[in-house]
């Protein structure tokens, strides 16, 4: 029984990997005339792994071009005329990372369903190799995944708290500025009215009308 169990323990992570290569992730249509771009706001030092493939197409021999750009416009990945592909990178700066897909050399009015599996952070980790390295199996692996997920949730909450603090400061600044600018506008209005009266009075006195 035991050697069979260990065999199964080894096969389990492989089976996990196998399931990921089916049509996972969100699918969207790419037609021959348009470019479909998806983006995500990513922090720095986050591992991003993307897996795209043509899930469903009305005609065969269609290939797609993929391009991934960083927030500053640097090209991180570019592949032309492929049916499927994979890209991975670590974000160097925080910002909007965009992946664009289009169909080059395709006849008009052709649609392709492209499946994109975009994983960042915890879900992008290579659990198969971690399982092998630390000799985790089954339940322990799942619990380790949960532990990492909790950690990332904690980080995200801290980030959210910082953003909220910044926004509160901005709001309070706006509030005080509204008061100051209102008073300033009123003073400018009164000063200008006073100047008008004074100037016209001296003008009419000069003209001997008053």
């Amino acid at each position: 029984m035991d050697p069979k169990l260990s065999l199964c323990a080894i096969l389990l992570p492989l089976l996990c990997l196998q399931t990921w290569h089916r049509v996972d992730g969100v699918q969207f249509e790419v037609s021959s005339s348009t470019t479909k771009c998806v983006s995500e706001e990513i922090q720095r030092d986050v591992v991003v792994v993307g897996d795209y493939k043509i899930a469903f197409t009305s005609s065969d021999n269609l290939s797609v071009t993929a391009k991934v750009t960083s927030p500053y416009g640097n090209q991180l990945y570019h592949q032309e005329n492929v049916q499927s592909g994979q890209f991975a990178f670590t974000s160097k700066e925080s910002g909007n990372y965009m992946a664009c897909f289009w169909l080059p050399n395709a006849p008009p009015n052709v649609n392709v369903n492209l499946a994109l599996d975009w994983k960042t952070g915890v879900s992008a980790k290579d659990w198969a190799s971690i399982a092998k390295k630390d000799k985790l199996e089954g339940m322990e692996l799942e619990l380790r995944k949960l532990e990492d997920a909790v950690e990332s949730v904690h980080h995200e909450l801290l980030y959210l708290r910082d953003r909220e603090a910044e926004m509160r400061d901005l709001n309070e600044l706006t509030n005080s500025r509204v008061a100051w600018f209102g008073i300033m506008s009123l003073l400018v209005c009164l000063a200008v009215a006073g100047w008008q009266l004074w100037h016209l009075k001296t003008f009419f006195e000069k003209k001997k009308l008053l």
């Binding site: 949960l146 997920a149 909790v150």
Partner: protein, 211 residues
């Protein structure tokens, strides 16, 4: 025979716990944009949220929001909502298959939309009965993973809404400064213009009585 049953059991466990599809992306919606998600099992819980990121709103009424219509694999409408700027949705998928999530944009200008869709599966009582290797603890772990995923989804939703509020606040700040300066300049200009116009009227010396 037993080894195959064991393998099958482990495969089922792997499938039920490893299968965590969660997608959160931003895309631009012109008139209608559709995304598809595969639901593996009957009765899986599908939940998600979307937030419209409006960066340049002038009047709020010009941007009514985005409508979401979800159709099942047989073409039946599973979920629909009216135009909203941010919404959380949840439904139980009756059948397995490819579900279509269509976002309709009633406004003329394209909108940036950040959405998040998650399909969660928890092994049920039938799976426990059929499969001798699936223990109740696996079910509990799957439930825990799903709960954590729900927390993560909520955080994403809050982050996206925070982005939207932040851009509104920064726009308020900019508008405040710009409109105050413009108002002061125009006030000064109008009053100086008035004074000079009146001076001109009175310089013509048409007659004492014509004033």
């Amino acid at each position: 025979m037993r080894i195959w049953a064991l393998l099958l059991g482990i495969a089922a466990t792997a499938l039920s716990v490893c299968l965590r599809t969660a997608d959160g992306l931003t895309m631009t919606v012109h008139k209608v944009e559709c995304v598809y998600e595969e639901v593996e099992y009957d009765g899986d819980m599908v939940y998600g949220n979307f937030v419209v990121q409006d960066y340049e709103i002038f009047w709020g009424s010009d941007h009514p929001g985005i409508e979401l219509v979800v159709t099942g694999p047989q073409g039946n409408k599973v979920h629909s909502s009216t135009s909203k700027e941010a919404e959380k949705f949840e439904f139980r998928a009756p059948r397995r298959g490819l579900y279509k999530f269509c976002f309709h944009n009633p406004a003329l200008a394209p909108e940036d939309l950040t959405f998040y869709i998650h399909v969660g599966h928890i092994p049920g009582i039938q799976d426990l009965a059929q499969d001798e290797n699936l223990k109740p603890v696996n079910v509990k772990i799957a439930q825990l993973a799903e709960a954590l995923e729900a927390v993560s989804a909520e955080i994403r939703y809050m982050q996206n809404r925070d982005k939207r509020h932040r851009s509104t606040n920064e726009s308020t700040q900019r508008r405040l400064i710009a409109y105050t300066v413009a108002e002061s300049v125009m006030l000064l200009g109008a009053s100086i213009g008035q004074v000079y116009l009146i001076q001109q009227l009175f310089s013509k010396r048409i007659g004492y009585n014509r004033v």
